[in-house]
């Protein structure tokens, strides 16, 4: 040892200047969490235990400091407990708010093998369902015991069992504050990180390349996502009849949940699909812009207008475009496998809500819902 660089977090010694705790997802899972679950001692108490129900995100910040260096993210172990003795849902409520899962879980690979999953959660202040979304984001990593080649097949058949088993035990978490410079709806054009040029191109061009660029701009991190795998997973949810029926069972709107997937099966090709991605972009801040977009589409492309005429031309349509976009761009071969009819009318907002509900169901499906399902499934 030429250089003594050891640190002791609880003993108040410092991390050497210039060094930060920036573990890879693989390090988090393979080194830290694996040691944690096997009760191996971790020499340096870099990642501490946190009771998520007791600490607010801003308190975690204080508790999980590493040395005195400024941090943008904080790491901790958390033990997930069931919300209800009979159920499988995790209780993630604190005194001031609650953590709510968003999106879908991402598979974490290590040298080509699946080693775990990452769940993304957002902190809401207040109580569900009236919580106010905050900028606090949590990535919750769990180890995946089924690191076999059959894991994909497993996803198809055993989604629910797997999800249920994953709602208990140690996880390693990372919290950070979402950067607000992009992806906010109320960002005015002027403060958008997109240049005026790009914006004009977005609005006036159906050129595939430009749109690809736009999409690339939106999703620099797309690369990290294992799209094929995740999408396959998603499709599995869709194909699962039980899931398809879940929302309509308890929804007062009684809209067939199939409707909410309907935009995904439109035969819209690159240009319209991509144009519709624009609302996600921070540059587009109002519905008027959207209307212009649609107007452009209708005037400019007969093909497009034909397709659009299936739907009410309404801005709310765009709610479902991200998934649409996603599948169209990445899984053209899978798209055709949707067994859903394409001639249903589309009610944007409500369906969208259903879709989110569906997501919550799929990620936290409990025996309770299964019960409902079997009772009413006939």
């Amino acid at each position: 040892m030429t250089e003594n660089m050891s640190i002791s977090v609880n003993g108040q010694s410092q991390v050497p200047p210039g060094f930060r705790f920036h573990p890879t997802e693989e390090e988090l899972l393979h080194f830290y969490l694996r040691k944690k679950v096997s009760f191996e001692r971790i020499d340096l108490d870099v990642i501490r235990d946190v009771d998520l129900n007791k600490l607010e995100p801003w308190d975690i910040q204080e508790r999980c400091k590493i040395g005195t260096t400024p941090q943008n993210d904080w790491y901790f172990f958390s033990h997930k407990d069931k919300k209800y003795p009979t159920g499988t849902r995790t209780n993630r409520a604190t005194a001031a708010g609650f953590w709510k899962a968003t999106g879908r879980d991402k598979v974490i690979y290590s040298t080509g093998k699946r080693i775990g999953m990452r769940k993304t959660l957002v902190f809401y202040k207040g109580r569900a369902p009236h919580g106010q979304k905050s900028d606090w984001i949590m990535h919750e990593y769990r180890l995946d015991d089924s690191t076999s080649d059959t894991s994909v097949i497993k996803q198809v058949s055993n989604v629910m069992e797997e999800e249920a088993a994953q709602e208990e035990g140690w996880v390693v978490c990372r919290i950070f504050k979402k950067k607000n410079l992009n992806k906010t709806l109320d960002t005015p054009f002027s403060s958008s990180p997109i240049s005026a040029d790009t914006r004009n191109q977005m609005l006036s061009s159906c050129d595939e390349d430009t749109i690809d660029q736009t999409f690339h701009y939106m999703g620099r991190t797309c690369k990290e996502e294992n799209v094929a795998d995740n999408s396959a997973r998603y499709l599995n949810y869709v194909h699962h009849d039980g899931f398809m029926k879940l929302p309509s069972l308890e929804s007062p709107n009684s809209i067939s949940s199939q409707n909410c997937y309907q935009p995904m099966i439109t035969e819209s090709e690159g240009s319209i699909t991509n144009q519709m991605s624009c609302p996600l972009d921070p540059g587009l801040d109002n519905w008027a812009t959207l209307d212009r977009l649609f107007a452009y589409q209708l005037n400019g492309q007969t093909e497009t207008s034909r397709q659009l005429s299936c739907f009410p031309i309404d801005p709310t349509m765009t709610y479902c475009t991200p998934t649409d976009l996603h599948h169209d761009l990445r899984l053209p071969n899978l798209r055709s496998s949707f067994p859903l009819p394409s001639n249903r009318s589309y009610h944007g907002t409500q369906d969208y809500n259903n879709e989110i509900d569906l997501w919550n169901f799929t990620t936290r499906s409990s025996p309770d819902t299964l019960c409902h399902l079997s009772n009413t499934g006939a």
């Binding site: 040892m1 890879t24 999106g103 709610y319 991200p322």
Partner: protein
């Protein structure tokens, strides 16, 4: 190098740390702890040769060099990046100017622009004249110290990639999509848009 640190610790210095801790101490002949940044002459090395010679962390390379106007390597040269003015580095505690950062871009021999970027950190002139140079006993030492002080630079070299990776540090594109969907959801619930009928 960082063998004694547990997994997950990486050399990710802030601009301020590079200037205040590493560059200032080097120039002031104070011991650098940890002494991780090697001392290289910039000139002979093409950027792709730095791996293994400089301190590499991820895609970034760090090394000490000297102030020079000659930035010609065997296969090209570093030229100031157009549109990037010198960036002031301020101390976070008192906003005092401690250094400056200059940007360079590597051109291959045929004048072909590459994606290699160099950020060169210098101690500011202000820092040099009013800086807390430790040896101020005699004018002679001061003069020599000042000379030493101003000649060092720290270079950070990396290849700019159009697909920046963050190793899952930020939200994935899909996460963002879902989050913005929830935003839209909230807006519609707040009745800020008309109901969807046509």
């Amino acid at each position: 190098m960082a063998a004694n640190l547990p997994p997950g610790f990486r050399f990710c210095p802030s601009d301020e740390e590079l200037v205040v801790h590493f560059l200032h101490r080097k120039a002031a002949l104070l011991p650098c702890h940890p002494d991780v940044i090697p001392d290289l002459d910039l000139h002979p090395y093409d950027p792709w040769e730095l791996d293994g010679k400089a301190l590499s962390e991820g895609k970034q390379c760090y090394f000490y060099s000297r102030r020079t106007q000659n930035r010609i390597t065997s296969n090209g040269c570093w030229k100031p990046m157009v549109g990037h003015v010198e960036e002031p580095i301020l101390a976070s505690e008192n906003n005092k100017l401690v250094g400056i950062k200059k940007y360079f871009i590597f051109y291959a021999a045929e004048g072909i622009k590459t994606n290699w970027i160099m950020e060169e950190y210098l101690l500011s002139e202000h820092c040099t004249s009013h800086g807390s140079s430790p040896s101020t006993k005699s004018s002679k030492t001061r003069a020599r110290s000042k000379q030493d002080y101003s000649k060092w630079v720290i270079c950070r070299v990396y290849e700019r990639s159009c697909e920046e990776e963050d190793g899952g540090k930020e939200l994935s594109c899909l996460d963002e999509v879902f989050l913005s969907l929830e935003d839209l959801d909230e807006i519609s619930l707040n009745g800020q848009i008309s109901s969807p009928n046509s």
